[in-house]
Every structure is written in structure tokens, then in C-alpha cells.
Symmetry: C2
Subunit: 419 residues, 2 copies
Amino acid sequence: MRIELINTGTELVLGDTINTNAAWIGQQLAALGLSVARQTIVPDGAVIGEVLAEAAGRNDVIIATGGLGPTNDDVTREITAGLLGLPMDVDAGVVAKLEAYFHKRGREVNQATLRQAMVPRGAKVMDNAFGTAPGLYVPAALGAERGWACHFFLLPGPPRELKPMFETGVVPVLKALHPAAAGREVLYLKVTGMGESDIVDHVERELEAMAEAGLEMGYCIGKGDVDVRLAGPGEVVAKGAALVREKVGEYILSEDRRVLEEVVVHLLAERGETVATAESCTGGMIAGRLTDVSGASAVFGYGYVTYANEAKVRELGVSAELLMRHGAVSEPVACAMAEGCLEVSGANHAVAVTGIAGPTGGSEEKPVGTVFVALASKGQATKCRRLFFPGARDRFKLLTSQAALEMIRRRLLNLTLEP
Amino acid sequence: MRIELINTGTELVLGDTINTNAAWIGQQLAALGLSVARQTIVPDGAVIGEVLAEAAGRNDVIIATGGLGPTNDDVTREITAGLLGLPMDVDAGVVAKLEAYFHKRGREVNQATLRQAMVPRGAKVMDNAFGTAPGLYVPAALGAERGWACHFFLLPGPPRELKPMFETGVVPVLKALHPAAAGREVLYLKVTGMGESDIVDHVERELEAMAEAGLEMGYCIGKGDVDVRLAGPGEVVAKGAALVREKVGEYILSEDRRVLEEVVVHLLAERGETVATAESCTGGMIAGRLTDVSGASAVFGYGYVTYANEAKVRELGVSAELLMRHGAVSEPVACAMAEGCLEVSGANHAVAVTGIAGPTGGSEEKPVGTVFVALASKGQATKCRRLFFPGARDRFKLLTSQAALEMIRRRLLNLTLEP
């Protein structure tokens, strides 16, 4: 099944908006064992007609996004109907929804908006739960007479409107058109604490040997983690996953796409335990990631951003003498920060980081990118790791926060802290 | 001048990588008064030939990214030469650079990598400062004989290799080909504290009246701010900018693309003042943004993430009675947090936030999205704003941190805090 993706939107070609829909749709199709043969982006307006006609001639499916709104430039609906020779009818259901939408907001539906209720005859309306523009599915049979036997999916551009519509309106049709998708499974094993090339070294050869049995694999690099994507027939995916678990099991943080902060908050909540944070170079990012998770308040109450040495002394009880002797970026200070944080917060665990984010402040002994991450837990020995993340400041902060959260995860699972 | 952009890369169509190059190139071209007529993305491999041939027939300029690496799938170079009927020569300069690159890493250049030294006869090599694959510029004259009078720029895919090469290798050629770019200027006025539609209401009509004189305008929506982009002849841009400053001046936070946290850190540093943070619902994001700025340590020493009520009492001295009477999400508690933070940190300014990020925890009186932001400064009355940011948790945190930082900026500039 050949599929092309067409994204329309002047904001996309001007660069005012990054095209995140394309990657998202690519992933959804990959999950079905399908892929995009070509993707075309054009500004709003009549040029969409040229591109649709080209694409209709060489594809089984066209997925078009954007151009369904109420302005003059939004012409995808009309151009598709014109291309296929389909008359447009007013859809009473859509009109009723538009009226309800506007009345709720104390306004009348205007004429421009009512254009959104025009539907090429025979096409199916896909509800838009988050906006006014409905989506349309035009089955291939409708255009066959003119020689365009191609399925058209016309979707709105805004991601929060497009994504639910794709899941509820497009995926079921594609599954019906492509029965091979039925027995197919996709699994994402999210790995942290090792780079893509290390993962490849551990598992790729043996996974590749499963390709004949239908296993497809890929890597999707995230923020501090890597998704190993396994796809294919259910039993082959299960075998591949078992191999990955055997080889790099302790580095797998989730198999359901949860990110590290979610896993840590959930593990703490299951155990009824709490964590506190004492951050220097990460400046609050660890606390920020923990509190990104809904329900974090059950496991996190206290965070300290002790950027100044004085703050380390006054808030965490780090001794001034220790700071003087070893410097703020040192193992003894990281451990003292973690232990002080454990004490003042009363939490079960306290993680502390101190390092040199750069671009200035490095030395020969401790270059920019050097960081110490310490973890103190009630009734256990405090542990510290020295790590090195040279490069940009934002990446340094991200990788340091990842290492700190991973240290908590490993302690909660009784894994060694120095993998 | 008609320009098409072609991005090759299987990772792009699979959705493993978001195509950020396209938006970036779109912005660079817009700065020159140029735009992308169409953008095409295809997987690695021979399909690039089909797309290049189509595009060469209808464009003055083609910018292609990706497919210049050492693997079998990297065929952009060879296919372009084939299309234009140009023989390939080994470029001694590129060979020398590849050898130096590998020797520095203690390795020998392999045959696959040496393919990168093949150059279509007459094409110009563009140096790659951050990788092994050089870029190529094939002037239109070289393909004219075969009827393809189109300028080809072949660039590597990784953004950190592509961007400097585009700036040093592509922009000068485009400027020479498009003399209208010469007298042209682009200015970004970064606005915060008002939405895009409010900005439009204030300035669009009068700016549109300058279109005849050559003013182009656009909006680029950022994280909590909006860039008003003005482009055109220098004196017209200056006039447009003067108008924007007159109408919404106090909301303009920078004219050099600096974001709010940079502006706040720089303003504090100029004044030799410091700020401390007391965060509940933002969970460290305000501290995190401040410490994203290099040099933040001069103006920021203390941050508190008092997620638990107990932490508000113990760390900031908020009275338990006040928490009981008004609830943690209230103006009195926000003010007490800010004043307590000012006291314990000894900073010149202290900002505090307390709110309901959701998805749970809302009430009729204080629905999810309600937040109080308070600012205490030495020798000045503490001020508090009640704001409402319904919607997703990450957006709530972002907009709340933006409002808090903006309150600091406004105080430092002696603007009213409740705009």
C-alpha cells in the first residue's frame, strides 16, 4: 500500500511552525507496518490542487493535513471534491455541531465557518473533538470513475485536533485496508543509561537474525533515553523483546513509553516513599521533571536549588570547611548535600547534584561537563557517581537530571548504582 | 526566484526524527525575502533521483539535505551528477581533510568514507566544520546543457553540520543571485504578556498600511512569547518597529531574540541585584529557566521548591494558620511565600508561585489552572497577581513561569506589575 503525506500551511514553509505532525503520523503508520513513500509540504492556497493531482496518480492512500479552516486560503476540501468530480452537500450534522459550538460561546455561526459543513458527496465526516473543522474520509471508490482510485483522508492541521481524529478515524480504515496490520504488534522498550551504539553492540546482531521471521527494529532517540522499537507478528516481537530484556534488562526503564520521571514517581508511590532534591548545576530541573508527573505531590515535598555556596551551607548544612577543602564540585560536597537534604526534608531518599554546566568555570582537573551525583537514603550508605557530560549547557542539565533520576530508580529496584 | 527544499532521510518519514531543518531553513530564506515553494521529504535511496528530476524542471534553486554520508543509501551526490551529466572527480582537498579527521582519531580512512571526496566536475565544495561529509554547490550553468538550469545546494542532514554551512556557503550565493536581499533587513520584536490576537489588534492595521512601501510582517509563536517579524527595506523596517514600540512597547522584552530569562538575568546583573525563587506548582521551572542562562550564578543563589505545605512552613516561614485559613493556593500564602523567601535568602527580589496545575485538585472557586504569583522586593510593597492558565500541565507550568519572570522584568524596569 503506497501512502503519501501532504501537509499544507504557509506557517510550515516559512518556518514559523515546526512540522511535528509528520513525525507523529510516520510513527503511527510504522506501528501498522506501513510507511510514507513521500511527504510534500506546500503553502496554503491553490497549489494544493497541483500536489493532490500528482499524488492521486501514484498512491493508494493520501493523508492531507491543513486547509480545512474557514479562511479563503483553506481550500483542501473544495479542491479534492473538484479533482474527483464530486458535488458538495451541506451536512446537517456538521451544521448542528457548529451551531452548538458557537452558541455555547455566545456567538452566531458566520458564513465562512459554515463552509466547513460542506461535504463531498459520499465522503465520511470525521468528528473534531477539539475544533470546528471536521475531517473527511473519501473512499477510493468515489474517485474511481475519474481514474483516481485513491483513498483520501483530509485532516485538520493543529496537532491536538489531528491526533485523536487520526486514531479514531484513520487507523481503523487503514487496518481494514491492510489486513496484515491485524496480527502485528509494536513494542517500545525504553532504555536509559546506555547510548544507542552500546545497545546496538548488545542486541543488534541477534535481533537482525530474527528479521527473516518478520521482526523489524528501529531506534528512536529521546531526551536522555532511546526507544528500541520492535514490530512484526506478535510472537516474533515477544521473542525479540525477551532477547533485549536478557541482554540489557536493567537498563530498560519502561515498556509502555513512560519516561523516567513517571517511572520514578510511580515506583515511589507504590512503596509509599518520598524523595527530596538538592540541586546546584541543574538549577531545579530534577524537581521540575518530578513535578511534571501528575500525582507527584504524594512522593515529593521538598526541593532545594542551592546555586550559591552559602545556600549549600545554610539550607543543607554542608560545612563551609568541606566546601573550602574540596570545592563545591566534589564528591564529599555532593554527599553532604544529599545527606543534609535527607535530614532537613525528612524524605526517604535525597538526591543531590553539583557540577560545572559551563561554558565557563572549568579547570584541568574538573573540566566543563564534570558533575557529581549523590544519593542518600534512610538506613543505606550514601553513594556518589562522578560523570562527564561535555557540550551544551541544556544538554548537560538534561543528562545530569537523567542520571540523578536513574540513580533513584536503580536504588528502588535494588540494582547496583554504578552500572 | 523559485526554491524547493528536498529533505532525504528514512528517519524523517518513519517519524524517528522531527524535521527541524525545514523550519530553520524557511526562516533563513524569509530573512532574505525568499520562500520555499514546496518541500519534499523522501526516504534514503534511489527515490531521491525521481524527486530531484521533477524539481529541477520547475525551480531556480534546489536545496537538498541528507544523503551525503558514507553508506550505500547516501546517493544524493551521485544522482545529482548523473542527472546533470557531470563526471565525478576525486577532490584532493577533501581527501586530505578526511585523512586528517580520521588520523586525529587514530583510524584509517575507509573506502566508503572516501566516496565523500567525489565531486561533480565544476561544483564547489562547502566545508563541513562538524562532520566528514562536505556540502556541494552546483551552479545552474553546469546543468544548462541538459536543460536543467537550476542551482543545486547539497547539504548534510545533521542540524549542527547543516546550519553553519548554510550560513557561510548558501546565504552568500543566494544574496548574489537575488540582489533584492541586499538592502533588506529583518527585525524580531519579542513580545510577552499579550497574545497574538491582542498584538494583531494593536498594530496590524497600521503595519499592513506599510506593505506598499515593502514591509512584510509575520508572527512566530514561541514558548510564552511571540516574535513579531518585520522584514523589508531598512528604513521601512525601522518605521514599522517604531510603530510597534509606540503601541506595545512595554510588552517588548527584546529585539535581539533573547528570551525572557536571559533578559531578567542581564537586567539583574546590570543592577548588581539578586533574585530568589519559591515555587510550588511550577516545581523548579522558574529556577531552571534562570539557571539556563550562563552567568546566572551572579544573580541567583537560592531556590525553594516547597511542594508540600509543611515545606512552605518550615523553609519559608509561612504560618500554618494562614495556610489553614486561606488554603495553599491563595493570595495571602503567595505573598507570605515571597516575603519568607526574601527573608531567608537575603536576595533583593523574591518571586513565589502557588497554583493548581491539575489535572486534579480544582474546585469551583479555584478551578484547575488557577495560580497566584507574588513578588517581594526589598523596600517595596509585595504585589500579587491572580492568573488562570487552564489546559495541559506542561503549558500551565510554562505560562506561570513566564508570568513570574515577567513580573521581575517589569519591576526592574519600573513598569506597572498588573498590565
